[in-house]
Amino acid sequence: MEKLTGKSILKGIAIGKILFYQKDEQAVKRVKTEDTKAEIERYVNARKEAVLQLNELYKKAVKEVGEMNAAVFEVHAMMVEDGDYVDSIVNIIETQQVNAEYAVAVTGDNFSKMFAEMDDDYFKARAADVKDISERIINILSGNKNSGNNLKEPVIIVADDLAPSETVQMDKEKLLAFVTEHGSSNSHTAILARTMNIPALTGISISKEWDGKIAVLDGYTGTLYIDAGKDTIDKFKKRQDEDIKSRELLQNLKGKEDITLDGRKIKLYANIGSVKDVANVLANDAAGIGLFRSEFLYLETNDYPDEESQFTAYKTVAENMAGKKVIVRTLDIGADKQADYFNLDHEDNPAMGYRAIRICLERTDIFKTQLRALLRASAFGNISIMFPMIISVNEVKRIKEIVKSVKAELSQEGIPYGDTELGIMIETPAAVMISDLLAQEVDFFSIGTNDLTQYTLAIDRQNMKLDNIYDSHHPAVLRMIQMTVENGHKHGCWVGICGELGADTELTEDFVRMGIDELSVSPSFVLPIRKIIRNIKME
């Protein structure tokens, strides 16, 4: 068995026979001709045919990969008809008195060179698109039919490089995966592979010898096993089955509402820890972001992040979520999350120490910077702000004063901000016990079950010795949740859960019965929880 690693384009497993794919690249010959008029006519006809073919491909791609990804073929058609490209071909035929194939090949080379010499990776990769359209015209001119695309059995395609048109033309049912030596993860082919959900690797030194051999492709690690043994195959078959199951779930549940059989709607949101997690939120079809932990902004830097960098991060997330709710939790540093430049003293009991809102209310400069960034970003989407580690009404009142003063500042400077809901984390027993009073101050509660459990049961989460008595389903915790929901609702507050318990599928039904309005979970839990919600019958 041979083991190789490359760059993975799509996470997934493929097991099957390798087909070594070779383009029938014919060398284009330069042939002198007297009748340039006839040659130009031949070219014009081929060009028309190329556009027709690309329009067909476009239609096929729209069906398979959606309009957005299919647009590449529309652009290819434009390239075929581009004035400069056409002029160059006609000019070469006329002045050099040569055949159309040669004129197209030379022009294609020149135009792809233009892209290859650019300093940006994306535009560099476009050289492949120019080659692709030029080859298409040449194939039409020389009467070549692209025969290599008819796959007879399910295969893993191994090729030097693949053009987008080649990828789409292949029978999707029989295309298990592809492996290329060249082609960047920016290439259109890579983008198409992602959309068609086909595992793919690039950057692997391929060998013609592999043709017909059984291979396993592990898109999670970017590994390719050639001549895979039975153990390897069995191991990956299992992984593949799990993948298929979760993908089916995804297919069936994407776009569906989070609603019980008797019509109660639950807001099913996702938790994220950085800007790049948004892609995962969208891929798993969450209805919003219920917990955006803002700590990463502070932990990834060597100094306090300025307003501008925070604003950009919040704005990016809000814009990408396109009007869906984004709940940002303000700085929750201290305890197990430390940043050197805060110069926090060592504490014997940091979980109960100087952390989160306790820091923010004392060092209001840090707090105000974050609030300014958040409020400014709220003009670009649906942002809500949530405050951690609350134990008293007084804290909430002070927070609201500060928010008010920051808003006044912004108004004075003529800087726009949107409507933002304000909410608090319920993660201390104190907050639960006074939740009726707190509910009168804010728009929503989000229950942080991890801390709430550790404070309620007096069990240190970091102490492994106590794992056996750490009961996350402890009735005390569940009653706390119930109490929070009731008190919240009494005073017009909606109530959610953003801790780990929210993703506990054994409790989903109980939470819904308690009257929970929102569950915020890791992106990968969104669809499994959606499945449960859609099967709940309250009566």
């Binding site: 957005m68 647009a71 590449v72 529309e74 652009v75 434009m78 390239m79 581009d82 004035g83 400069d84 490209y85 135009f111 233009m114 892209f115 650019m118 300093d119 940006d120 994306y122 535009f123 476009r126 698109d129 920016n186 259109h188």
Partner: protein, 84 residues
Amino acid sequence: MQKFTFKVKDELGLHARPAGELVKEAVKCSSKVTIRKGDKTGDAKRIFNVMGLSVKSGEEVEITVEGENEEAEAAELKKFTENI
């Protein structure tokens, strides 16, 4: 002659799809439409001209519209470019 500038917001810059859309819009105009980035200019009705400018995210480009209908056409194009 009508002129306006816009900043490309798309993460990949003025890549194939938005470039193609821009060309499609420009072709609808009866006016001459020119696109400029820095000291490089191109015919906005030609895809290779537009992509050849290699406009990256955050970069500013200028569109010039010249013709009988320039005012209305520039306004249409401006509206379109706001979403790129």
